[in-house]
Subunit: 265 residues, 2 copies
DNA sequence: CCAAAAGTGTTAGGGTTACACCCATGT
DNA sequence: ACATGGGTGTAACCCTAACACTTTTGG
């Protein structure tokens, strides 16, 4: 086997990714059960060793794809974890990231071991220092959600205000008043009325029929279009049907240039 | 020479530290002129390669001491920088940190090359990807200053409200109303009246003389005790003498437990 | 005596919070 | 019908932003 030699000892460099998801009720994390030593049969974040010709970002996206089938484009770096004994095999520095995935996008992956969603409050003891990394990631997510539209990565293309509220409540661990939440969210300017939007895009603002809307977005009775798989399964079918919104990326980019939004909570 | 061999290629791991300082007027950065290739005679952050038996934090503190004489205890990690070609010698991942230093604490260091403070707006083109790292560090500092008492690491043990205001204005690049700034700062609860504090500590609250205060903290005419070296040199001696404050660490820790403070600005 | 710097309080306005009723849907 | 869940507006309060004069000090 080919060998690689250096004048000074080099640590190995790996990446790990904390993938958050949301099922409509609870915040979740994607974990993989380890099939080899060390920490065999324990759960850990997807990740792996960095190749010599890729950046850490490239590495973590590749490992994510290989390990879970997730092909996402956005990861945020949490930082490097460098405790001397964090990996019993050899000295390893891990560059950790976090990302947000729609609950349904996980499709197993190649050597897919077992990738499973765990409720954030029920995660078992993890391999390596991943317990510690998870705490950092959760804290970071809670911070970021005030200033960045992180939540929308966890929902479908369209979503309802109550879904969005449950997401924020899950992440932050608090409860909000419906009306105030609604108001605040609309004030940020990053939401767009999904139905109006769709009608406008198809040039049928005035002729928009209920049937068209159902066809575009799926309604509660139409299982062929589960465009909102996240929340659809989580709450009862009773009660008034909720208005759907979508994330207004164009407007968000404009707002971001002027300093971004801030959600007080 | 001893060699170190691995089955897979390993990148080198280094650390770099962006050290911010404040001279009473402008935000500064501590840079070292490189005396060896690559990037010889260009300026760069203090830092160096990580040893196999130390964490990144330990490494950066050691390098800081060796390179600049700074013996500080608090650094915050910015993250890992892993562009494939950032170091022409070999593939190197750098874990970057930032820290705050009192302007006078830099005393040269061992192999001290030349460590110099640069005004943040006058920094020349830097070695490696340090320009990029500096932008990240500046952005991060601006964020952190809203939630953490970062500013006090840059000032002396005691400081005046105008000094503190100039610091915040330098970091954030804006101007504040004196009265509102004063009010907001006191409201955070992390400031303590330095003169009252000192008098209390010495059990002489009621007998406190002006002379005592001068002896404890130095006054504008006493060059032997330049306890506020940061601002003392920067502004004219004219005008009313300002009240001194200190950072109330005990109270800050208590406040932090309850969610911390937030400076709106 | 004058210029420069620092201390201090009030008011208007915007934003947040608290709060109650009606409507739509499915059982 | 009724239970469940969602949509909507208003009033009190707090916090922020705007604003001017006085005091101290050194020249």
């Amino acid at each position: 086997m080919e060998k690689f030699t250096y004048d000074y000892p080099h640590p190995a460099v790996a990446t790990d990714c904390v993938v958050f998801g949301f099922d409509g009720r609870e915040l979740k994390v994607l974990l993989i059960e380890r099939v080899i030593e060390p920490f065999k049969s324990m759960w850990a974040f997807p990740g792996g060793f960095m190749r010599i010709d890729e950046t850490a970002e490239e590495c973590v996206l590749r490992e994510l794809k290989e390990g879970t089938g997730l092909a996402i484009g956005n990861v945020k770096q949490l930082g490097a974890f460098s405790a001397v004994n964090r990996d019993p095999r050899e000295r390893t520095v891990s560059i950790a990231f976090y990302s947000l995935a729609r609950h349904a996008d996980v499709c197993g992956g190649d050597d897919a071991a077992k990738a499973h969603w765990w409720a954030i409050d029920d995660v078992p003891q993890l391999a390596f220092d991943h317990d510690y990394i998870l705490r950092q990631a959760t804290r970071r997510l809670r911070q970021d959600i005030h200033f960045e539209p992180v939540g929308f990565g966890l929902l479908g293309d369209t979503f309802t205000m109550p879904e969005l509220q449950r997401l924020y409540e899950s992440v932050l661990g608090v409860r909000f008043d419906r009306r105030n939440f609604h108001k605040k969210m609309l004030q940020t300017g990053i939401l767009r009325d999904a139905e109006t939007d769709a009608a406008t895009r198809f040039g049928k603002r005035h002729e928009m029929q209920k049937l068209d809307i159902d066809a575009l977005f799926g309604n509660a009775n139409d299982s062929r279009h589960t465009v909102a798989p996240v929340a659809g399964a989580a709450h009862s079918e009773r009660g008034r049907k909720a208005k759907r919104f979508s994330f207004d990326k164009e407007n968000y980019d404009r707002i971001k240039k002027n300093g971004g939004f801030r959600l007080e909570f």
